[in-house]
């Protein structure tokens, strides 16, 4: 297990290196001239070509890409991602201020997702083809088909406009968290319920479940002790991807609810062509995604002994 974990961590190192290269490369290939943007900030919109050239030389934009990359990475290692081209605030501290919001939203939405999709998926699988199953399948299909922004607006209309019980935007107490968390939670739960259901149906047809029944175990023990862990294995991959997306900032939902997470920061930075902020956001989002998925790999190994041994051997 330890050997397996170490191998994953080494792999993570390579992935993170790749992410820095890609982020850096993409920003340099992107249309638009950062020197121009910076010069605009300094000297106003009435620019001379000389002013732009001066900025280009000062910021080192004339150096080869490899030199620029090295400089960028060495700053990165000191957690310095430069300054915003627009507000001149430190990118690192700006992102650090947004991360807690994104994390709180991601974890709340995940809890809502699992608390609903696992019991509903199991209940549906056990009563396959009966009324409860049909109801769950129809509901989950409807919820899964709703785009996030529309579901978010629907919830705002019902709970903020009509009922007036919850705030419609911004961050503050727990009340502000409820609508965005449920918007994300409901749509993910819809997909997860269907995944849990099909995984459980598959598991319940396995021979080891027949063995469990042969022993004379009751249905609850069969499902919880022999079924659930096996059924969650295929669900885990997808849940990892979902958590990765959430932690990388649920861009649409954060925007709809003006939730000050990293997704909202990214969208706002794109609007004003704040290259260094975009670069920082993309980097952090990419790294978070990679780390979450390595975490999923480790969780797999912790649950499934076959993975541990295959790799150790």
């Amino acid at each position: 297990m330890i050997a397996y974990a170490l191998k994953r961590l080494v792999l993570l190192g390579f992935i993170l290196f790749g992410i820095t290269l890609l982020t850096f490369g993409l920003m340099h290939m992107a249309p638009g001239d950062p020197a121009f943007t910076i010069a605009e900030g300094r000297y106003g919109t009435d620019l001379t070509p000389e002013q732009v050239e001066q900025v280009r030389a000062e910021e080192g934009f004339d150096d080869g890409w490899w030199v620029q990359y090295q400089k960028w990475v060495s700053h990165l290692l000191e957690l310095d991602m430069g300054r915003s081209l627009v507000t001149y605030k430190s990118v690192t501290s700006e992102i650090a201020a947004r991360i807690p919001y994104t994390f709180v939203l991601a974890f709340t939405a995940s809890i809502i997702t699992f608390a609903t999709s696992i019991p509903l998926g199991i209940a549906s699988a056990v009563r396959k083809g009966r009324r409860q199953d049909v109801a769950v399948r129809v509901l989950s299909l409807v919820a899964a088909s709703m785009p996030n922004f529309w579901l978010g607006l629907l919830l705002i209309w019902v709970f903020a406009v009509v009922l007036g019980v919850l705030p419609s935007f911004g961050a503050g107490g727990v009340a502000h968290l409820i609508l965005p968390a449920f918007t994300l939670g409901i749509s993910m739960a819809a997909i997860n319920t269907r995944l849990v259901r099909s995984a459980m149906i598959e598991v319940l047809s396995q021979e080891y479940i027949a063995t469990a029944r042969m022993k004379g175990l009751d249905d609850w023990t069969i499902i919880s002790r022999h079924g659930l862990k096996n059924a969650l294995l295929p669900v885990l991959t997808f849940a990892g991807l979902q958590l990765g997306f959430l932690l990388g900032g649920a861009v649409v939902v954060e925007t709809v609810f003006s939730w000050p997470g990293i997704g909202k920061l990214l969208v706002d930075s794109i609007m004003v062509k704040d290259f260094s902020m975009i670069q920082g956001c993309v980097l952090v989002i990419g790294a978070t995604f990679a780390i979450v998925n390595i975490g999923v790999d480790l969780a797999y190994a912790a649950i499934d002994p076959r993975i541990r041994w295959d790799v150790d051997a």
Binding site: E207, Y208, T211, G216, L217, H226, R306
Partner: protein, 311 residues
């Protein structure tokens, strides 16, 4: 009193190819302490019979006839009665141990679960499970391993340990040697021989392996296309087979020089009207294709063939 009494048991399922008549008019008894063998080719309905006795078949299975364990009819049991029957009443060594063990659970826990069902707490149950696994030949330092770390033969031992730990009145072993190579097969047969309980527990051995059945069973039943065609003591059936199918089966054993039985059994969805073995039979008569032959009983032997039983 018999431990198990099966009387005219028929089991069928709907399928896309029509009704599968997996068992048809099956009758036999097993006495306490007896080892009873069901022998037949793959696909003849032996496994369905074993699973029917535990009601482990899909809900779509339809049963007629009677199957009573210790006098209680299995076919009419409700869920809570079935829970009593399974494990403590009848336990089964499932076919294919690789698929039949939970891949995410340590083998010791899969055995210990049987003791927990009998009221032990987990700690004591694991101790008992370790002893039971040792008893069937799993070294003590392997009990905390997972199923994928064992060979096919070792997994079969774990399966046997589970069935024994349930302390059943009747032990059904479903193809316990299938898929095992020579030595593992011999070891499993030896183990099955050593755990026979001549006083109390009955054993039902389901196998296509006539030699294995001959070595372990007191009595044998031969199954063909869902029905039993010959029942008798092992000595009689092996020493002097009467039904043409039994003779053919014995002829296709290696020591008889592999005289292969031509053709294959009929599909269980489209059974011939007359004798089911007729198309492959060397003793075939004209009237064999018309009526379904009844079991004829003579001298402790039952044979479903009027031709060979004619005086």
């Amino acid at each position: 009193m018999s431990l198990l009494e099966v009387e005219g048991l028929s089991v069928s399922f709907p399928s896309s190819d029509g009704l599968v008549r997996a068992n048809d008019g099956v009758s036999f008894t097993i006495a306490p302490g007896e080892t009873f063998g069901i022998v037949g080719e793959t696909g003849c309905g032996k496994t369905v019979l074993g699973r029917a006795l535990l009601r482990l078949l899909p809900d779509s299975a339809m049963y007629t006839g009677r199957a009573a364990f210790r006098g209680k009819d299995i076919l009419s049991m409700k869920e809570d009665e079935l829970k009593e029957l399974r494990g403590r009443g009848i336990a089964m060594v499932m076919q294919n141990p690789t698929l039949s063990l939970n891949p995410l659970m340590r083998v010791v826990d899969q055995v210990a679960e049987a003791y927990v069902l009998q009221g032990m707490d987990w700690k004591v149950a694991r101790g008992e499970a370790g002893r039971k696994l040792y008893h069937v030949g799993i070294p003590r330092d392997r009990v905390r391993d997972y199923p994928h770390q064992f060979s096919g033969g070792m997994k079969q031992r774990v399966m046997i340990a589970i069935a024994l730990a349930l302390n059943p009145g009747l032990l059904i072993a479903d193809e316990p040697t299938k898929g095992l190579d020579g030595e593992a097969r011999e070891n499993i047969l030896r183990l099955l021989g050593s755990i026979r309980d001549h006083e109390g527990r009955g054993t039902m051995l389901i196998t296509h392996d006539l030699r294995a059945a001959a070595g372990l069973c007191d009595r044998l039943a031969v199954m063909y296309a869902g029905e039993l065609v010959e029942i008798g003591s092992t000595l009689d059936v092996i020493g002097e087979p009467r039904h043409p199918y039994t003779r053919a089966l014995l002829g296709s054993r290696p020591e008889s020089g592999f005289e292969d039985l031509p053709g294959e059994g009929p599909p269980l969805t489209a059974l011939p009207r007359g004798c089911r073995f007729c198309p492959r039979c060397a003793w075939r008569q004209e009237d064999c294709v018309t009526g379904r032959p009844e079991m004829v009983e003579a001298e402790d032997r039952q044979v479903r063939c009027p031709v060979v039983m004619r005086p």
